[in-house]
């Protein structure tokens, strides 16, 4: 698989404080990569290092197969659109004037500008001053400014911050559409639900360390959900399963954590042998949120 972004041992320290530690990021080309972590976990710092806005203390960044350094950044940045922290834009100018600025600066044609503006559906707000934009409109203008250069890679730092549910949904649709068109999107969030269904790949950061990286399905497997057993005699069943840390749920069912399929079969056989009637066996439905909490707790939070 070819990675559009790959880092090796990426580390950023300020004095003795380590903000990002030993990160090995792998972003496959053409995917939506959800970069998750609580506030202050080092997401923005990582993204800034990817863009060479700040220099890593250790480790290196490869973008589109080339090392990203101060010497190479301007050339590589031509293929990267980004939005870091808050959306950019000159408040005293209108949306159209902001777009014209980037057009002149990067030597873009009018079609590229119109395409970017239409993609974020801002065409009816272009004559308003950015000062009078709502936060959602500013976010969309920021994305349009990043899209105008038709980047291969889009790096968006919390693009849904401060948006209402409709705005969040619109950004999600937009990211999916961009990925379908072949743009690789790296998007960060501290809220799982926001990128849960959009991202193909997930990277989870906690206190500057990557605690998980892989597909959504892999994430679910990484923290195997509880096996829930409905039976005729839950009390006896729990007593039988103490070695597996079995417990009684509020619904009067038996929950057993961290069982793989073979262990599950063994446990059920044991219960049947005890004469307990088994009505149902299933895996607990867990949301990404649960998994996330589970992982971050394991990460020593």
């Amino acid at each position: 698989m070819s990675y559009i972004v790959a880092t090796e041992g990426l580390t950023k320290r300020y004095g003795t404080r380590t903000v990002v530690e030993d990160l090995n990021l792998r972003i496959p080309e053409g995917c939506v990569y959800g970069f998750l972590g609580p506030n202050g976990s080092g997401k923005s710092t990582t993204m800034k290092m990817l863009l060479s806005l700040i220099q890593p203390t250790n480790g290196e960044v490869q973008v589109m197969g080339q090392p990203m350094t101060r010497a190479t950044r301007r050339q590589l940045l031509a293929g990267i659109g980004s939005l870091i922290e808050s959306p950019p834009g000159y408040a005293h100018l209108t949306g159209a004037e902001n777009m014209r600025l980037i057009q002149r600066l990067l030597g873009l044609n009018q079609q590229q500008i119109d395409f970017a503006v239409h993609t974020v559906r801002l065409q009816d707000q272009m004559d308003k001053k950015v000062r009078n934009y709502s936060l959602g409109m500013k976010q969309r203008l920021g994305i349009a400014l990043a899209l105008a250069r038709q980047p291969r890679l889009l790096i968006l730092d919390e693009p849904t911050n401060g948006l209402d549910p409709a705005g969040i949904d619109e950004i999600r649709t937009l990211l999916r559409r961009l990925a379908n068109d072949g743009v690789t999107v790296m998007v960060s969030s501290h809220l799982l639900g926001e990128i849960d269904k959009t991202a193909h790949m997930l990277g989870i950061l906690s206190q500057g360390r990557m605690i998980f990286q892989g597909s959504r399905a892999e994430l679910m497997t990484a923290s195997a959900p509880d096996v829930i057993i409905t039976c005729s005699d839950p009390r006896t069943a729990v007593a039988k399963l103490t070695s597996f840390n079995g417990r009684m749920t509020d619904a009067g069912e038996v929950a057993v954590p961290a069982l793989d399929d073979r262990q599950t079969a063994g446990a059920i056989a044991g219960l049947v042998h005890e004469g307990i009637g088994i009505f149902g066996v299933r895996r607990d439905e867990q949301t990404l949120e649960d998994v996330f909490m589970h992982l971050t707790a394991g990460g020593g939070l």
């Binding site: 300020y14 710092t45 800034k48 863009l51 060479s52 806005l53 700040i54 220099q55 101060r70 301007r74 050339q75 940045l77 031509a78 990267i80 980004s82 939005l83 870091i84 922290e85 808050s86 959306p87 950019p88 834009g89 000159y90 408040a91 005293h92 100018l93 004037e97 014209r100 600025l101 980037i102 002149r104 600066l105 990067l106 030597g107 920021g142 400014l145 250069r149």
Partner: protein, 249 residues
């Protein structure tokens, strides 16, 4: 050219234009007001009006004006995440720095024609001076405009490096004061300082301070050479600094 063009687009609805118009007019008005208040006619006609407005302008108001222009031009970049956007685009640092210096330099130089018009109007309509402003002052005005460029580049660099609006202006004021003192004590060699360079250019041909009163080819060459060399040096160094700096966290 794209970078310079886009910098000019940013000046729309900018306060910089008010500075460009109002600062020269205010200075000429104060020069004329002093004259009218003293009740005595200008000893040397146009020459005296020029000295009272332009030479005074060159002592420190011009440096302050340029400092304010530079801070205004950079303030939009320090706002929100515009800095991140600026530094995560493909435009090379040298081009960014040059475009900013050119825009600040343009605005700084634009104050001179405003100054000239204000002096002419004041001399003719208010003070009723006979004749016309001596023609040498038109040529000297072009030199002053050229001399503004390195100072514009330097103040632009300071405003780029300092997020504060006022700090680069304070630095400019102190540096202008020191440079004027060095210029008076040490003579023309002080024009290695961009602050002294504008002061020197505004004194040319007036016989005030360290000026001899004449305008020689040597004077003109020295000022133009200093303007070109200093501008190139300041822009090159500040682009290198910008390239080596991390964005703020």
């Amino acid at each position: 050219m794209g970078a310079i063009h886009s910098e000019f687009l940013k000046l729309k609805r900018s306060l910089t234009w008010a500075i460009v118009i109002l600062l020269p007019i205010a200075l000429v008005i104060s020069a004329a007001a002093n004259t009218l208040a003293s009740g005595e006619p200008l000893q040397n006609g146009w020459h005296t009006l020029w000295q009272r407005s332009i030479v005074f302008y060159g002592l420190f108001p011009l440096a302050i004006g340029i400092a304010i222009l530079a801070s205004l031009v950079w303030s939009v970049e320090h706002r929100g995440s515009n800095w991140n956007a600026l530094m995560s685009g493909p435009t090379p640092s040298l081009r960014i720095v040059t475009a900013k210096a050119v825009v600040v330099g343009f605005l700084a130089a634009a104050m001179q024609p405003v100054m000239l018009v204000a002096i002419l109007v004041m001399g003719k309509a208010v003070l009723g001076l006979p004749g016309m402003l001596p023609v040498q002052y038109f040529g000297i005005s072009l030199l002053i405009m050229a001399a503004c460029l390195p100072l514009a580049a330097l103040q632009s660099a300071l405003s780029m490096l300092m997020r504060s609006f006022a700090a680069p202006i304070a630095v400019g004021l102190v540096a202008a004061g020191i440079s004027v003192a060095v210029l008076m004590l040490g003579g023309t060699a002080a024009i290695v300082s961009p602050y002294a360079l504008v002061t020197r250019a505004t004194q040319l041909g007036t016989g005030t301070f360290s000026d001899t009163g004449g305008v020689t080819a040597g004077d003109v060459t020295a000022i133009l050479t200093a303007a070109v060399v200093l501008f190139a040096a300041v822009v090159t160094v500040s682009a290198a600094i910008l390239d080596r700096r991390d964005t703020r966290i």
